[in-house]
């Protein structure tokens, strides 16, 4: 498939995904600002004890997600060198790491709920589940996108001069990773 000529020289799909990410920045921006405003402004905003937050597990999860970004970069790098096996292997690793993140997140939810931090127990809980839940939905979306690329990759559709979609999936995945890198300190460490 030949790329169509565009006025800017940038493929339309790539511009489209950047525009989509711009709107996502505004979406998360609005949630995060709401959180910051109420956390600093509301007298009834109670922050749970650090021990209840499970920081070590969340740190591990952060590490997992950052690693998955690295494997994503390696997947793209492989296909740019026309290494089909590398693409499939690193993409599979990215998907597995994504599932690991969700698994740990589910365990964290279960643990926190048992400790009494629930969606309606107070502002912290409300924001915690809303922000991380929205992020988890994005992780699920990213995993589905990656699985689609993985399926095509196993069919050998991509090559060194045709791999735009691998790059788009990567852009999205890095964005999801970046959001977590912001959520982690503001929810757990501050």
């Amino acid at each position: 498939m030949m790329m169509e000529e565009t006025a800017t020289g940038i493929p339309s799909g790539k511009l489209g995904i950047w525009m989509f990410l711009a709107s996502e920045v505004m979406l998360f921006g609005a949630f995060i600002s709401s959180y910051v405003i109420l956390r600093t402004g509301s007298p009834l905003f109670e922050i749970p004890l650090r021990e209840m937050l499970g920081i070590p597990l969340a740190t591990l999860n952060t590490f997992i997600l950052i690693t998955s970004s690295v494997t994503m970069v390696l997947a793209l790098d492989s296909i740019q060198k026309n290494n089909q096996k590398g693409l499939v292997g690193f993409l599979a690793a990215t998907v597995v790491l994504g599932f690991a993140f969700l698994g740990i997140k589910a365990f964290e939810y279960h643990h926190k709920w048992a400790e009494g931090i629930t969606l309606s127990s107070g502002l912290f809980g409300s924001f915690y589940y809303t922000l991380t839940g929205l992020h988890a939905l994005h992780v699920i979306g990213g995993i589905l996108f990656n699985l689609y690329i993985l399926r095509n990759g196993m069919k050998g559709i991509y090559s060194n001069d045709h791999h735009e979609r691998v790059e788009y999936a990567g852009l999205y995945w890095h964005f999801v990773d970046l959001v977590w890198v912001i959520l982690f300190p503001i929810l757990y460490l501050l």
Binding site: S12, L15, G16, S23, A30, F31, S34
Partner: protein, 572 residues
């Protein structure tokens, strides 16, 4: 692109079409229907405002007990009509007409493209919009009726409102998603699909307007989406994002932890809703600019200034939202900031209007129907804009806030401004869409009746507002100081019902001309922009016989030495 080779069925051609022109027409018919239904809700309200407490004649018999027992409208039903009128008109009527229809149909044509950048996404935008609209209308059937907390849905009232509000939120999320898909598509299309020679300084103003509008939608709508999700959680998941502690509802304390802030909702809402004002007006300005350049047979005055002003408007529109909240008790320093930005944003609006007015100077004006609408737009939008200034100053806003003055102000902007321009656009591009022209006499009847009756409805609102009549009143005669201006309400209601009748010439003329109107040539208005360089209607899925190349700016009218008084962009 490969659809051209396949045999198309009725379904793939007219229903699930990927062609931007068919999707544009779907947007047009749907949004015009929503405009009519939103307008009808207002006609019911106008009965209550003119003759409070009296049974609605004829129609009253068909309304159920839960809405109007004995034909007399209940206060709750009045509130539902008000909230749904605003929501339907803005989100389901005007934006989908101005952006979804005009943008979809004419932006690709004006840049010489064969279609939008993402045809499949384009089709999805339409269907999600239609679904959102139907969900929104269905909320009237919920127990307790439709949303009734105003189109602004201020918390905590909206959080404790009946179930119709949940449906409102879900419908809004669908509409927002549809708009976001559309915005991405418009931006990428404008950036990437311009034909050879069509540089940024040669883009028609209409394309610039749609481009800036799409950027506003892209950045503003996600914020409302976030706000809507938080409100949804407050309603169904027991959170307290917008609920302060110690709320008492219907005499019983609300069992919530509290600590949230009702003002948070207002900020998130207006962060969208102020740019939304420019989403409503920019496409209209773009249409008016096209028609005025064509109708005056001379280049627009200040092309660069208009483009610069539009871009500046776009940026500034994100910095003025809290002027809707001067009475929320914000800090004086903060209200000064928003007062200043509000005064600054009036400058580019005035600049655009001035350029459009000066464009008329020295032109040999052709008073065609579209031109009548475009010329009428200028003073009408002027009134709308200038009456906004006293609302931007805190000292005057304290008095005028939440009075009918505000309603008058934004209806002058959106109705006599935007809707008049959109009508003009429909008359202007009708020959392009259907290859036939509309009847000129009945078009002019429609124009004069519409513009007079609209003024008859909205001008008295300023008088009422200055007399202190509050908006959202179920029974205006319940307060003594309103009784003096009550006769204006009767007058306004007759004008509103007359306005409905005034649309009959338009509707009949539209459908008659669609099938039986006089056939027109490819370029009946002798215009210069690219959409007139393709057949009428444009070819399915490819628009142009041969991809055009652009050689000059968009408004080369009356060029000295050229044989005709218009020099098309694509002419070699």
């Amino acid at each position: 692109m490969d659809q051209g080779h396949h045999k198309e069925t009725f379904i793939s051609k007219w229903v699930f079409s990927l062609d931007h022109k068919i999707i544009g027409l779907q947007y047009m018919f749907t949004s015009l229907s929503f405009l009519l239904s939103g307008f009808s809700l207002m006609l019911l309200m106008r009965w209550q405002l003119a003759f409070p407490g009296q049974p609605i004649p004829f129609l009253g018999r068909f309304l159920p007990e839960s809405m109007a027992p004995g034909g007399v409208m209940l206060p709750e039903f009045y509130n539902q009509l008000g909230a749904m009128h605003g929501t339907i008109m803005i989100f389901l009527g005007i934006v989908p007409l101005g952006v979804g229809f005009f943008g979809n149909y004419f932006l690709p044509l004006q840049i010489g493209a064969r279609d939008m950048a993402f045809p499949r996404l384009n089709m999805m935008s339409y269907w999600i919009y239609l679904l959102g609209g139907l969900v929104m209308l269905s909320s009237f059937m919920m127990p307790g009726g439709a949303a009734q907390s105003g189109w602004t849905s201020y918390a905590p009232l909206s959080v404790t409102a009946p179930a119709g509000q949940t449906v409102w939120i879900l419908a809004m999320v669908l509409i927002i998603t549809s708009s976001l898909f559309g915005a991405i598509n418009f931006i990428v299309t404008t950036l990437n699909l311009r034909v050879e020679g069509l540089t940024w300084s040669r883009l028609p103003i209409f394309v610039w307007a749609q481009f800036v509008t799409a950027i506003l939608l892209l950045f503003a709508f996600p914020v409302l989406e976030a706000g809507a999700v938080l409100q949804l959680l407050d309603r169904i998941a027991g959170t307290s994002f917008y609920l302060p502690a110690g709320l008492v509802v219907d005499g019983a304390p609300l069992e919530r932890t509290g600590g949230g802030s009702p003002l948070l909702w207002q900020h998130l809402f207006w962060f969208l809703a102020h740019p939304e004002v420019y989403v409503l007006i920019l496409p209209a300005m773009g249409i008016v600019a096209e028609i005025i350049a064509n109708g005056t047979r001379k280049p627009l005055f200040g092309y660069k200034e208009i483009v610069g002003a539009m871009c500046f408007l776009g940026v500034m529109s994100f910095l003025v939202w809290a002027h809707h909240m001067f009475l929320s008790g914000m800090k004086t320093s903060l209200s000064y900031f928003f007062m200043t930005t509000t005064m600054i944003i009036s400058i580019p609006s005035v600049a655009i209007l001035t350029c459009l007015v000066l464009s008329l100077k020295g032109g040999s004006i052709r008073f065609t129907t579209p031109m009548l609408f475009a010329i009428a737009f200028l003073p009408m939008f002027g009134i709308g804009g200038l009456t906004g200034l006293p609302l931007g100053f805190t000292p005057t806003d304290v008095y005028l806030h939440d009075t009918y003055y505000v309603i008058g102000h934004f209806h002058y902007v959106v109705v006599t401004g935007t809707i008049i321009a959109l009508f003009g656009g429909i008359y202007y591009w009708f020959p392009k869409m259907f290859g036939r022209s509309m009847n000129s006499f009945w078009s002019k009847v429609h124009f004069w009746l519409t513009i007079l009756l609209m003024n008859g409805i909205f001008f008295p609102m300023f008088i009422q507002g200055l007399a202190g009549v509050q908006r959202r009143l179920y029974d205006p005669t319940a307060q003594l100081h309103n009784v003096a201006v009550q006769p204006t309400n009767v007058f306004m209601s007759y004008c509103a019902w007359g306005l409905l009748l005034a649309q009959i010439p338009f509707i009949v003329n539209f459908f008659y001309s669609m099938f039986k109107g006089k056939k027109t040539a490819e370029n009946p208005w002798e215009a210069t922009t690219l959409e007139w360089a393709c057949p009428s209607p444009p070819l399915p899925h490819k628009n142009f016989e041969k991809t055009p190349t652009v050689h000059r700016g968009p408004y080369e009218y009356s060029v000295p030495g050229h044989k005709t008084d218009f020099y098309p962009q694509n002419a070699a």
